[in-house]
Every structure is written in structure tokens, then in C-alpha cells.
Amino acid sequence: MMMHPEQELLLDVEESRAAPAIESSGGKSDGPAVVLRGLHRSFGSQIVLDGIDLTVGSRETLAVLGRSGTGKSVLLKLIIGLQKPDSGSILIHGQEITLLHLDALNEIRKKMGFLFQHAALYDSLTVEQNVAFPLKRHTKMTQSEQRDRVKELLAGVGMEGDLKKMPSDLSGGMQKRVGLARALALEPDVLLLDEPTAGLDPITSGEIDELILKLQEEHDVASIVVTHDLHSAKTIADRIALLHEGHVLIEGSFAELEKSDNEFVSEFLKRDS
């Protein structure tokens, strides 16, 4: 039977796909944090995701790369339930979320953190109130406990001096930091980062990367990072998945991607490097 070159490529990296998930989970015996199977999503006649299969270990960081419009952000929104897939399965810690009722889905969402592409800070609230928002909603912390927790989270992202500032007073990089602190407020098991370094200068991008690495070490989370920034992906990710035409074209470590003889992969890496 003739195989599509992309299928061959996937078979080539089949081994590397399974191995790092276990390896990078630090020998943790519990199952994968996120499992996507046969995920499809279309907008009208435009097919964006056409059968995505991905697995992310419970302490692993997966970077999702791809050209603009390949559905990377859509993928994250499907994982957190902001959009529904046309078909396919999304398992978060073994629980299928596509069929969940809103209340049950919200319970799962409390254990997930989401950093939006433009941070999506609530512009009528101060930095402190933004970070405190999930704490106020979902914990029984007293006000002083909340204040302490917010200070601790903001200190973790180097923003402890900006508690009373409004989001409009912050630069793009600072907004991302606050967004990251807010995403970590409820100590999530799964962290979804949508273009954490997009629109930032190389130095700030580097700082955000370092921050993400530091947070991963401290908080022990599974992360899915959608990015265009290959350098960032190389720095922070255990594995990389490259989306192309609605499929995962290749999946593996950065070194494995570099070894690939697929024309699109080589072109992508060359253009971005």
C-alpha cells in the first residue's frame, strides 16, 4: 500500500513521540495530561484542523508550531473548551471534555491556566484585581490570603511593584507577565500558552522564555505552547509538533525536526532560524 509522505514522516517519529512523553514526565507514573485524538474543526467550508492526534505528558512542554492560520490558537481553544470540535476526542487527565456539561467543564478549567495571545487582561481591573480574579471566584481565601497570594504570583513574574497599575499602563511584555501570573493563580495542572512571545522584542522574548522555564520547574505543569518563535520553542519545549494543512506533519524533539528531510519542515526551520 502506498503511503502519503506525511504519514511516513509521522511513522518515523512515532517512537520519539511516545518516548519523550514518559521520559520528560520525570518517571511520573500517572497518565498523560492531555490526549487529543482525531480532532477536526472547520469554519464553514474551511477545514482548519483535520484529524489532530497529540499527547502531552503530565510534566511535559509541547510547542505547537505552524504557519499563520493553521489552527494553532483554535487547538488551544478546543482544549480549554472555548470552542467545540466537529469531531474527535479531548482527554484532560483521562476525562473526555467534549461531552461535558458546562459546570463539569468549568471544574476542569479551574485546573487549567490559559495565557492569551494579547494577555486579555480585564481592562477595568488593576493588575492586582486581575490576578486575584480567579482566586476570588474559586477559592475560600480571605482577603489578606488573596493579597499575599497575588503578591507571591506577581513576584514570581517580576511584577510585584505594579499591583495598582491598570493594564493600559503596562507594556506588552508586562501584560504577558501579568497574564501568566493570572494563569497560574489556581495552581493549574495544564498550562496553555498562546504566542507568549508574539510582538515582543528579542530581549523581552528571552525574559518571557526564562520565566516560563522557571515556572515550569516551580509549578510542575504540563504545558502546550503555541508559537511562531522557533528559538522560543527550542528553549522551552521538550517536544515540538509542526502543524501543516490541518495535520500534525511532524512531532519530536528539535534535533529530530532538524534531521527531517521533509521539504516543508526544512523550509520552516530555515525561514524561522
Partner: protein, 260 residues
């Protein structure tokens, strides 16, 4: 001929689609409303935002309408020798129709645009997604609280508009021909009963429902960037004003049936 029929068909389709989506939105809000938490703090914030901050404008509009009605009616009534009817005509007109409708239209302008623009801006900057992603139901946190605040404050604002209308009607009248406020009020409320107050004032709760529901709906379905936000704000005002006027006609008929 065929193309104009097609345009009418498309327009009708879009109108029905809009209504269908509004119905689904209302259902989501109702479903969210019956579950905990009841968002008391956010509701209080919205009562202040929608109620207290609309008060000056509503009071000013009521005062202006009262003064104008007094001046305009006076000359007509003098012509027919019914000058003494002025206080009663003014009070009846303000309490029954002018106060509620002016309040509804002023609030639909100020609050409808505000809600449409605020939620529209939150939608395009992914703030609504961020609320949802943090496990909070935006239909309750954003829409339900604003709609309930509108329903609760409209009757109160109407009372304020009525009071200012009557007060400034008296001021305008007394500037032309001095009359005591006590006498003006006594003449104005001759034959008026509690139900004359009740039904017209509380029909503005329906206006509040319309303004809140349409403002939230238009805001939360915003698409595109700043142009989309502008469009949502404008359509919120236009549609809520239109439906307030339509609801007024229907409710007046109902009130006449149940409170003849």
C-alpha cells in the same frame, strides 16, 4: 423584480436568524441565572454603574420635558379656557407616558451604548474568553448582572424623571403665573390613584429587560476589531430604542385592558 424579492428574502432571513440567536442567548442567561453563585457584588456594581450614573441625565431629561410640556400646554389650554387643567394634564402626561418613555429612551442611549461597547470591546480583546477559560460563566457574570440591574433601576429612574418633570413643570408655570407648589400638586393629582403610578412605572422594567438583553447580546456577539465594537454600540442603541417604543405601544394596550 427577482433581485428585489431576493433582497427581501435575505433581509427576512437575517431578521429571523437574529431573533433565533437572541432567543438562544436569553435561554443561556436564564439557565445561568438559576445557578449559584448569584454574583451579588457584580450586581451592586452594575446597579451603581447603570443606575446612579444615569440619574443626572434622566433627571435633566425629565426636567426639560416637564418645563417644555408646561409651557407648550399652557398656551393651548389658555386658548380653550382650561388653564386650571394644566397641573392635572402635566402630571397625567408625565406619569403615564412621557416619564417612562423618555427614561427608556435616555437609558437605552446611555446604557445600551455603554453595554454594547464595553462587552464588544471585551469580546474582541478576548476578555470574555478569558473569563470563560477561568471557569466563570460570562452569561451570568456579564449578562445576567447587567440585565437585572437594568430591570431594577429603570422604575427608580422613571420616578426620578417623573419627579423632576413635575417639579420643573411647576417652575415653568409659576414663572409665568405664580402658583404655590402645594396647590399645583393638589390640582395635579386630583383623581389620580395608586394604579395610575404603578403600571406605567413598572412597565419600564420591561424596557430595562429590553435594553439590558439587547445591549449584552449585541456586545457579546461582536466580531472584528474596533469597527465591530462601534457597530455593536450603535446597533445596541438603535435596536433597544426601537424595541422600547414597540414595547411601549403593546404595554399601553395591556395596561388599558388590566387597569382601565
Amino acid at each position: 423584480m427577482r433581485s428585489s424579492l431576493n433582497s427581501v428574502w435575505l433581509l427576512l432571513n437575517r431578521f429571523l436568524e437574529w431573533f433565533g440567536e437572541l432567543g438562544l442567548f436569553a435561554w443561556q442567561v436564564v439557565r445561568a441565572a438559576v445557578k449559584r453563585p448569584f454574583e451579588g457584588r457584580e450586581l451592586l456594581r452594575q446597579l451603581d454603574e447603570i443606575g446612579s450614573k444615569s440619574l443626572p441625565l434622566v433627571a435633566l431629561a425629565g426636567a426639560a420635558i416637564g418645563a417644555v410640556l408646561s409651557l407648550e400646554s399652557r398656551s393651548s389650554l389658555v386658548r380653550f379656557g382650561a388653564k386650571s387643567m394644566l397641573p392635572a394634564a402635566l402630571v397625567y402626561s408625565i406619569i403615564h407616558e412621557t416619564g417612562p418613555v423618555v427614561t427608556g429612551l435616555v437609558v437605552s442611549g446611555r446604557v445600551g451604548a455603554g453595554i454594547g461597547a464595553e462587552l464588544g470591546s471585551m469580546k474582541v480583546t478576548e476578555q470574555i474568553d478569558a473569563i470563560e477559560a477561568s471557569g466563570v460563566n460570562p452569561y451570568k457574570f456579564l449578562a445576567f448582572t447587567r440585565i437585572v440591574a437594568c430591570i431594577l433601576v429603570l422604575p427608580l429612574l422613571t420616578l426620578a424623571a417623573d419627579f423632576c418633570g413635575v417639579l420643573f413643570g411647576w417652575i415653568a408655570d409659576t414663572l409665568v403665573e405664580p402658583v404655590s407648589f402645594h396647590r399645583f400638586i393638589n390640582q395635579g393629582f386630583v383623581g389620580a390613584s395608586f394604579s395610575d403610578f404603578l403600571a406605567p412605572t413598572f412597565r419600564t422594567s420591561v424596557f430595562g429587560l429590553i435594553i439590558g438583553m439587547i445591549g449584552c447580546f449585541q456586545g457579546m456577539r461582536t466580531q472584528g476589531g474596533t469597527a465591530g465594537v462601534g457597530l455593536s454600540a450603535t446597533s445596541s442603541v438603535v435596536l433597544s430604542s426601537l424595541f422600547v417604543i414597540l414595547a411601549d405601544v403593546i404595554l399601553v394596550k395591556f395596561i388599558l385592558v388590566f387597569f382601565p
